[in-house]
Subunit: 574 residues, 2 copies
């Protein structure tokens, strides 16, 4: 993979040399070709040995580095023995290639063991993106990585910096995804509990002296689980691309003694503002600028902490290493303890502070054509615990939506339109619902092409008294404007008056705070079928999502490679 | 499932009552309809809790009870989250339905998560059969059960007995199939070691005081792992249908103080002979008659032991409970220790003793049309440890053989014919091969329809000095005659002179002893594509198998349900 890329680069450089500088370096987009093999391997990212799904032997997988408008080709070989796979390119809108969104059951059939599936798509916007498994709960098994899309040669970023670094944050369970999923789909429901550790760029540290663990599986001396070290040169500005792919946890990230200036969120420039700690939810990406302007004679802690849940997961630590101090030299201080886990206000405040950067504002349409209010609730369906949207728990169809709709196989789907809202007047979002029962369905929201859609994500009490959780929602195929956040029940008449229609940030993932609401707007202008769901792995697996169709008639001929399941088994038509 | 069967029976009985005995009970074949759901569940078959693949919550799965010529319909719902499945009906020849043999990659594409696949086939011969997963190493995860096919009403067995009981023997690993498979396909090769316990009808007993195991996973007080109890009435004759589906182990089974009379092997009547202990290899089934003629005031041990390997796996124990003694009353004696693990001679002697029963002899064709000599060796391919036949290590194609051949997609397969033999003159079966390298291939033996084929399974030294293992080979779609066994290298000129052509037993599974050979004959008269492979789960996964095609042009229209992988993805032709 790296070899091919280097060769392409070399050819390009040779060509550049050949023309002896008569022409400037071509601004033409390149093709970046990756060959990835997905396979189970034993890894000890937090010193505890377990099977992970690795790409080319690594978790996180290789970073995709590209320039705006490059074409990415990933030849993905599934070398799992009995298990399928699919990879989603998180934040990439897949304009013109909705079949390569990698969302199993929505845009493609799963990739079978032994098969090689070729993803091919354009990264049309610069920014910080992610990729990860979008099948079952495989993301939790370690199948994820970074995509960094830079500006074309010669185009400057609107903020100066000296170095560019990517850091993925994650939480980490010792139980396999099978064990977790079995618990979720059992009666009684069995919850895996809090993650055992937090990983910073794939490294964490579990206490191997924890009583009761199997002999020989935990080894604190492995270099693999030594803390991640970010070595910096004093007096410089670092762009840190911080992203989160946690299974469950909302996080706070900080670097001891250093402020961070937020400049990018989900691929969009942010009007800069400073934070001491950055709150980040699963599926979000941020760029922050950090000045290495502190005492250079020592190292500093970088620390990550779970917020929003009273978690038993210990804070994750990395070393912010001022060169030339030894990278393993412990900072002389006690690591930062981070913010209070249950303080919602600072988190809401950060959300409100994120606005589009002056000069880079994409103004939203002033009004919307359709309003969808999505009540997020925890429910029971046939005795199983599920999550629902307006009391419908999401279920994937046998034939992926994109194929069923494009090939006029709509009879394969539940054709009842899902509800556009809930019982606003009578539903008490602050209590356990009187009737927690919900239904499951594979029905779909069909949006008129090019219309503007508003979504209110309304949070509520779970099935436990006095409990409401944080849900980061992620939209495929689009960026949306974040128009507002609020506490309590969304007021259809008054709350829209406070929408930010001037400089709202565009994002692909946004959090809904406990007992709160978040308002979004997007334009349904990307022909295809797109998932919109809670990015917490278990919540989506338990039905917390919906699917949108828009402009299906404008979708091009579907590649046969995405077929093979449901109604698409057979000798293909010539 | 059981309900449906009972209802069918009830309807039938009601009809019988209705006609007031004017007619004898109809000899017409019935349809037996099963609905099975395959799902991961936590079980503790040997007191150690692990995830197993259960059918309707059980491992072993429900027993299929049928009469000769009944049609079995199994609606199999795959409720695994990300993992496919396929079930093989072991010993059922699938005459006219080769697409329902359940051999993933050979006769069908895997069944995807969420899908329901309908197997429909006729059990045309009475006898003791099995079913089990035939995909990856899922059989080891607990996906297996019994098929008992009885004679039509009024047709007596050639031996009298009072009661009929089924007992499946198995070995049991605590590591998941993922963990095992990851080790097998790693460099360096990592072997999981010997199984932790032996199961008798799904029950075993691991010592929970073993040091180093994770806290809370082992519980010796669970009723689930109390010993299997076979309650018998004194003075009766029991038919015990003993079968083995071990992952690895060759076994010896005995009931303290009771001889066993062998009367059936793999669905064929055996000229009765008595044994104190029964040797049984993975994939074999036997019926033995046991007389409950011992002191009825006590219970007896039934015991199973690993032979052929110097195993660390402790013997498995069950209680042969003479009614009305308490079923949990321990026998007053020390359990039998079983035969020496390394005594090959008694095992060879049992093989030679098994002959077709007088009056039920199917004489083999006196000569064969084609001779295949299959050298079984352990090899390396690209640094990976593999097993091979004539230095070709078996690899499944992307499009299952049956589909590729029937639909004229032969270009998808390696078309080089695999070798009919090996270098008989120079190959030293008693030493580590000088060149252990092999190739992998998905090529196939194409047999002329209705011809008679002889196969010599030739064992050899593994890659370790002075080591040769036992391999039970299983043929799909056929029964074969066992013509002979021998020690050392098969002599093409002299050994055939000693073949038993008079009353050889027919079987579907037979063992090849260390440094020995076994000679088989079968008639290629079942249109389809059929696997022939070592029944040790890891050996087949590592390439120890071949595939036969015969009469592909006589195979009927393939059902679309078996497609969806390789070249069979797409909107099907109308």
């Amino acid at each position: 993979m790296a070899l091919i890329e280097v060769s392409l680069l070399r050819i390009r450089l040779m060509l550049a040399v050949l023309v002896l500088g008569l022409f400037v370096l071509s601004a033409e987009a390149r093709v970046r070709h990756y060959k990835w093999e997905v396979k189970y391997e034993y890894k000890s990212p937090d010193c505890f040995k377990k099977l992970v799904i690795a790409i080319n032997g690594r978790t996180p997988g290789p970073t995709i580095l590209a320039q705006q408008n490059d074409t990415i080709i990933v030849e993905l070989k599934n070398s799992l023995l009995t298990e399928n796979v699919a990879i989603h390119w998180h934040g990439i809108r897949q304009i013109g290639t909705p079949w390569f969104d990698g969302t199993e059951g929505v845009t493609q059939c799963p990739i079978l063991p032994g098969d090689t599936f070729v993803y091919r798509f354009v990264v049309d916007r610069p920014g910080t993106y992610l990729y990860h498994a979008h099948y079952g709960m495989q993301r939790e098994a370690g199948l994820y990585g970074s995509i960094r899309v830079t500006l074309p040669d010669g185009v400057p970023e609107p903020f100066p910096y000296n170095y560019d670094r990517s850091i993925i944050l994650n939480d980490w369970y010792h139980k396999s995804t099978y064990e977790q999923a079995t618990g979720l789909s059992s009666i009684p429901f069995t919850w895996v509990g809090e993650p055992q550790s937090l990983l910073i760029q794939g490294r964490g540290r579990f206490n191997c002296n924890t009583p009761g663990i199997e002999a020989g599986v935990c080894n604190a001396t492995l270099p693999e689980c030594s803390p991640y070290v970010l070595t910096v040169i004093p007096g410089k500005t670092y762009r840190l691309r911080i992203s989160s792919l946690t299974a469950l946890s909302a996080l706070s990230f900080e670097i001891e003694g250093h402020n961070m200036t937020v400049v990018e969120a989900d691929g969009h420039y942010v009007q800069p503002f400073d934070v001491k700690n950055l709150f980040i939810y699963s599926g979000e990406t941020y760029s922050v600028l950090v000045k290495t302007d502190q005492d250079p004679s020592r190292n500093y802690w970088a620390s990550v902490k779970v917020v929003s849940r009273n978690s038993t997961t210990p804070n994750g630590l990395a070393i912010f290493n001022y060169y030339p101090n030894h990278p393993r030299k412990s900072p002389p201080t006690i690591p930062p303890t981070g913010p209070m886990w249950d303080a919602v206000e600072p988190r809401r405040a950060q959300g409100l502070a994120i606005k589009a950067r002056q000069g880079f504002i994409h103004p939203p349409p002033p009004i919307s054509d359709r309003l969808l209010v999505f009540l997020n609730t925890q429910n029971r369906v046939n005795g199983y615990v599920r999550w629902s949207v307006n009391n419908v728990s999401f279920n994937l169809p046998h034939t992926p939506y994109l194929i069923a709709l494009k090939e006029n196989l709509t009879h394969l789907l539940d054709q009842t339109p899902p509800p556009d809202g809930y019982d606003f007047v009578n539903y008490d979002i602050f209590s356990v619902a009187k009737n927690v029962n919900a239904t499951t369905s594979d029905n779909i929201y069909r949006l008129q092409f090019n219309t503007t859609v508003d979504i209110i994500l309304q949070n509520a009490n779970t099935m436990n008294p006095n409990n409401s959780e944080t849900h980061p929602w992620h939209l495929h195929g689009h960026d949306f404007w974040v128009l507002g956040y609020g506490k309590g029940k969304f007021d259809l008449y008054n709350d829209p008056k406070n929408y930010n229609l001037v400089n709202p940030i565009m994002k692909n993932t946004v959090a809904v705070q406990p007992y709160g609401w978040t308002a979004l707007r997007f334009v349904a202008n990307n022909p295809g079928v797109w998932a919109f769901h809670c990015h917490i792995e278990s919540h989506f697996a338990m039905g917390m999502g919906v699917v949108f169709e828009e402009g299906i008639e404008k979708v091009g001929k579907l590649p046969t490679s995405i077929m093979g399941c449901g109604a698409t088994k057979g000798i293909p038509r010539p």
